[in-house]
Point group: C2
Chain length 251, copies 2
């Protein structure tokens, strides 16, 4: 009896790259729950979801208006449950395995959700920098699917979404400014430790760390972009990745 | 030996109305610290601050570019300290009176700040509805000062800021949508109680309750506006005010 984590593979040695599936991987590792990964290529996600009764995670995808199916999803062999959406998976794991460390300690769910909502909505300028490069890290079938669907979503070829010249400078500065804001939140408690709750890990740390792993593996750790991000805010984001390293293993 | 809370008076029976000074009043009441209020009219705030070495709370005010002085501020007679800015005051009280109940329980400062930042920035559409009416609730000297400075800040007479017709309908709907979002945060923990941390009060509750008291006293509890807000989200905001009622006394 184990848990199966459905994740999207990349061609990179670490394989795992998606910020969303990373949130679930962190939760499973942190809770010490036995699991194994089953890799699902992009064009197979919808079929896979329908086959297992996994619910869509969005009403309409932006390329053909059909239901949006995404990963992570898990299957818990112990209960027979199939469940999608990283937040709902976390809630399920909290409830089903109450003796494992909580990712929502001290009833902080509402505050965690507030931070998560905000973090997501602030980071709009990031997608243009990272989605076009994400495509090239995927296996050929996923790459083709990703480019096709995201180009439809953007209304132009995905490669052209990447900011260049002055636009790139402005948009990058905006990302930096956003991270300064997020740094300000962490700074409020950081005499107590590297996490948003000081020395206690929680959901928001995994959310932000997942986002940062995405940058690091897609751009590459020696890229200008990642080196820049890693230098921001006194190295806070690189330090956060170090602090969650023991929960970062990929089976 | 007591604490003096500097607050801005209104003509209303409850006198206290400012969402910012309410945050501090809630903190003092919740912590059970003895205090009394000294009322400072708007045109006297800057002078009062300079006299006591209270720092500006903003670099530039939007009407003449000078330093922005605001209330709340407190003077702690026991330590001689004068301090402005509701967040800094809360931090001071936490440190100085560690045996009183904390408004940042379990190292949630960073999460509280994230919620507060977001709540503030989301509520832009509210100002147009409430600032013009706020003026009329103040004593004459403050009213004159408030209308003059805020008209300069908006670049038009304050009375004209109030949305009308279709604009009012659209902007009001936007406020409702924002509160739906905030309701979603509370809903994540609300099986545990009326507060963002379930059954434990914290800073974010006082921030949101202060904002709601402002609406209730400026518009009036029998106004269409307040009755509408009170009906939103299953009565969550009226219930929050009830839940903090025991910390809502004004001396």
């Amino acid at each position: 009896m184990t848990i199966i984590l459905y994740d999207i593979p990349s061609k990179l040695p670490i394989k795992a790259w998606s910020p969303n599936t990373w949130k679930t991987r962190f939760c499973l590792n942190y809770k010490g729950l036995p699991y194994r990964t089953e890799w699902v290529e992009y064009p197979d996600i919808a079929e896979h979801a329908k086959k297992h009764g996994l619910k869509p995670t969005g009403e309409k995808n932006p390329w053909d208006g059909g239901p949006y199916y995404s990963l992570p999803a898990i299957h818990d062999e112990a209960t027979g449950v199939y469940i999608s959406d990283s937040w709902l998976i976390a809630e399920y794991l909290e409830k089903q395995y109450p003796d494992t460390p909580s990712v929502f300690p001290n009833n902080t769910k509402g505050l965690q959700e507030a931070l998560g909502n905000t973090y997501d909505s602030l980071l709009d300028p990031l997608w243009n920098f990272i989605l076009p490069l994400t495509a090239g890290r995927l296996n050929p079938r996923s790459e083709e699917y990703f480019i096709r669907t995201r180009s439809l979503a953007f209304g132009k070829p995905l490669a052209e979404v990447l900011p260049t010249g002055e636009q790139a400078t402005t948009d990058w500065a905006q990302i930096k400014e956003i991270m300064n804001k997020v740094d300000g939140w962490f700074a409020k408690t950081d005499d107590k430790g590297p996490f948003i709750l000081g020395d206690v890990i929680s959901w928001a740390d995994f959310e932000i760390a997942g986002n940062k792993i995405w940058m690091k593996v897609i751009w590459g750790e020696d890229s200008e972009q990642w080196k820049d991000v890693a230098s921001w805010n006194g190295g806070r984001w690189e330090n956060l990745l170090k602090a969650v390293e023991k929960y970062s293993s990929v089976d």
